[in-house]
Symmetry: C2
Subunit: 337 residues, 2 copies
């Protein structure tokens, strides 16, 4: 055992020890590298003895791939983000990608955040945000700074980006059919902020499916400024307090679980109404809390795992001929509707 340890061991060290050239060492570590079994075995043995691991940083610099993807997030309040982060980091890591988590600090921070990511040569930037404007696209693609811009769990019509998400149309159609089947008459749709560039098809789908079945009048909609339980609670409380009791909705259809949980809190604790007896509620995402006896929320589970795999596929192809992907999830029927 030579005592040159304690220091960074490079491919050269391994090459020396294995009696091959540095490039053979590199080949041994490439999964589909052309190399004889014998040589690879020698290299691997030497690497193990020396504790060698390829330096991904140097590799990124030399090649034009970093195997790094940036995850841009702007809403850390929704527990469902945690689920997405878990799945993405797990599956990306298993596929050999590292994940750079970038906090989009404010509304107009997206371009800056993207720049931060690009400085580390990410192979792709994945936006898991709720708000984001055109600026991000210009920064990303206009300056060629980021090779790929992927919108995760949202639909974006922005050209040059690709979206990977849940098939919201099928999902919301299923929810709506369920509600129609149960005979609800006066729904209220509770939506998040009304953004342009990236949006959910949930509201539109609900409105069209419902109207098609029921005709006029179209269901009412209220928007909450943010996907926050507290704000949703407040919005519902205000809206229902001002409303004549005979016009009270019999079901509140929410754009996601966070809003739904806030709505339930409002109904029960602010307005003294029973859920689902007096007003039913549905959500979207199936966060952990939705399953708790306190809420027992009927909702829809996004296929996060499959979405992450779809992302890996796009990355592995370097974005060549990639198209939007919208995958089916699963309707979760519980007690709230």
């Amino acid at each position: 055992m030579d005592e040159q340890s304690r220091e960074t061991v490079t491919a050269d060290d391994v090459a020396l020890r294995a009696g091959v050239s540095r490039w053979t060492v590199a080949r041994a570590f490439k999964k589909d590298g052309v190399i004889s079994e014998k040589a690879r075995a020698k290299v691997m043995a030497a690497s193990a003895e020396l504790g060698y691991v390829p330096d991904l940083l140097a590799a990124s610099l030399a090649s034009d791939r970093s195997n790094l993807v940036a995850l841009l997030v702007d809403d850390f309040d929704n527990p469902h983000k945690l689920v997405m982060l878990e799945r993405l980091t797990r599956i990306l890591r298993e596929a050999g990608y590292g994940t750079l988590l970038v906090n989009m600090l404010g509304e107009s921070d997206a371009p800056e955040a993207l720049l931060t990511a690009s400085q580390r040569r990410v192979d792709a930037a994945v936006v898991i945000g709720t708000q984001f404007d055109e600026g991000i696209r210009r920064t990303a693609l206009g300056a060629k700074r980021v090779k790929q811009l992927i919108i995760f769990a949202r639909a974006s019509t922005t050209p040059g980006t690709i979206s990977i998400g849940c098939d919201d149309i099928a999902a919301m159609t299923e929810i709506t059919r369920h509600l129609l089947g149960k005979g609800f008459k006066r729904p209220l749709f509770l939506a998040g902020p009304n953004t342009e560039s990236t949006r959910l098809m949930r509201k539109d789908t609900f409105l069209s499916v419902w109207s098609e079945a029921h005709g006029a009048p179209p269901p009412s909609v209220i928007h909450v400024a943010d996907y926050s339980m507290a704000l949703a609670c407040e919005a519902v409380t205000t809206y229902l307090s001002d409303l004549d009791e005979t016009l009270r909705p019999d079901v509140i259809v929410c754009e996601n679980d966070v809003l739904a949980l806030g709505a339930i809190d409002a109904l029960r604790h602010k307005l003294g109404l029973a859920v689902p007896a007096e007003v039913a509620v549905t959500g979207f995402d199936d966060v952990a809390l939705a399953a708790s006896p306190a809420y027992d929320l009927t909702t829809y589970r996004q296929p996060v795992t499959e979405m992450a795999h779809a992302l890996v596929r796009v990355l592995d192809n370097g974005g060549r001929n990639a198209t939007d992907v919208f995958l089916p999830g699963k309707f979760i029927k519980r007690g709230s509707a």
Copy 2:
């Protein structure tokens, strides 16, 4: 305007345009670089025109700092993790650090996860996990692969690591005093898994402060295998169902909010007990849900922002003469106890 755009613009391009050398360009981008104001202005102007941004990857390779820190997480179920991630990514980014989010897939994955991080030359690895064993330390420090190992929001006695967290002792003492003041007699402590290497002082503190005030018998303790609402709910249900009613605790002190929320669900929905009238509950962390009317949980807020700033300080010093940091948080009194 020369039309060499579309391509990566390097410091050389900027140097050429600004009429200085490449190294002067580098200096202009170093916050405390020695450079004349005139030169810096020229460089900045040229950079702006060309859209130049320093390549952090190349910088990391050339220097021995990457300004990258790895966040190792193994528990994506606790919404409080999201708060920590938000604060850490925000504050680290503001301080010029990038964050690599690494999912510690399983119990024994810590060393592997650390290796993944080290391959990207992180300046430090920050463990925000609940479980982690000695292996991680050996991998990190033994092989000199990671310069610094920091345990966040936990106390670790492992030598060579530094801990940054909430002052659990002061915190739990305050909670306990509050409960003593309100005249509770039979507390039950609800704890998470019983790990060795990294742990919370909450349980020990509670037990000692309580015993000191009340003498024997010492409070009962139950452990839940995981920080999960569902498991906590189950554990509490089982425990209380088997218990003679006269021995029923009048307050359940929980190691964190997730356990507390599960406990409340158990009390209300499984056991039909009123909170806080029949059994009170306290938590720890002050997750968003704790403030909702559905739970209205008395808890303790960790100083996450300050903890993140403390982390930045350690990083900026390159870990020289760094010591453990435990900061005071804030007791949040609500209705549950």
